[in-house]
Point group: C3
Chain length 116, copies 3
């Protein structure tokens, strides 16, 4: 059986879980929930970069991404940040839907699966 | 290629699908949709325990969890049940968003991926 | 480490990503967003068939499926198409929730994981 390694393990969830050569990240929200969607998306993607590095991988190995926007009117602004961040030629399978998040201030949450 | 084993196979979905040493469970809702969120969450997690056992694993091997709440005001009540259920030191990557579920009575749905 | 192969790679996302013997498809919406939910679901499932074939697999190897409906009142109509499409005895773990999609016209989006 493949090994399981957990990163930044909390009482409720872990920030990342590595199973064999698959890396599952938690749904990530911004550090600053009062920021606009552009800043929130940048903060989310920086945190994803950090957690992927902690798991021994990076954004060139993204497999699948789920994005939740609190308001779909932010689709263009989120995508502008996403498009400049994602690795050309290495884009993941992705889906984006609208959903209210843990607190009303959060505008975007992103959850990824990557290869190690 | 890794083998595929399906558990409680229905015409629309299977309750669990094992692929190699990865176990995918269906989105689980409560037995009693008229119950409050605390009881519904307990019923969902008991069913997840049952299905994980049927797949030859348990909650210590959770990898990823998606939680949908019909109303985010139930976040605290759901988490109280979750926090007492999840295995300390073995928490999964998790995301929780708000979404209307199959019928208006359902307050919580949980879908997990686990290692075998 | 398992290899990664990407199919129909765009600047924002890939339509499918193969990691070892696991295939992740993007969230798929209909070609014709003005069609009714029955037609949209048929178009989505035809596109999933096409992408699974491109990845060297088919619907008999579905592992996990997430379905988003813009309006849960379409649950029955979507399921009628789904039930006639899915492979008997080979149904995936599935969850369906309500969510607004990228544009208001889209009525259904489906994202699957399959074995290769």
């Amino acid at each position: 059986m493949a090994s399981i390694q957990r990163i930044e393990v909390g009482a409720r969830m872990s920030k990342a879980v590595i199973h064999g050569d698959t890396v599952y990240l938690a749904g990530i929200v911004a550090d600053d929930p009062k920021a606009d969607v552009t800043t929130q998306t940048k903060q989310v993607l920086a945190e994803i970069d950090r957690l992927l590095a902690a798991a021994g991988t990076d954004k060139t190995k993204l497999l699948r991404t789920n994005i939740w926007l609190a308001d779909m009117k932010d689709f263009g602004a989120m995508n502008a940040v996403w498009d400049s961040w994602v690795s050309a030629g290495n884009t993941p399978a992705r889906a984006t839907v609208e959903a209210s998040l843990a607190t009303p201030d959060y505008k975007v949450e992103i959850m990824v699966v990557a290869a190690k």
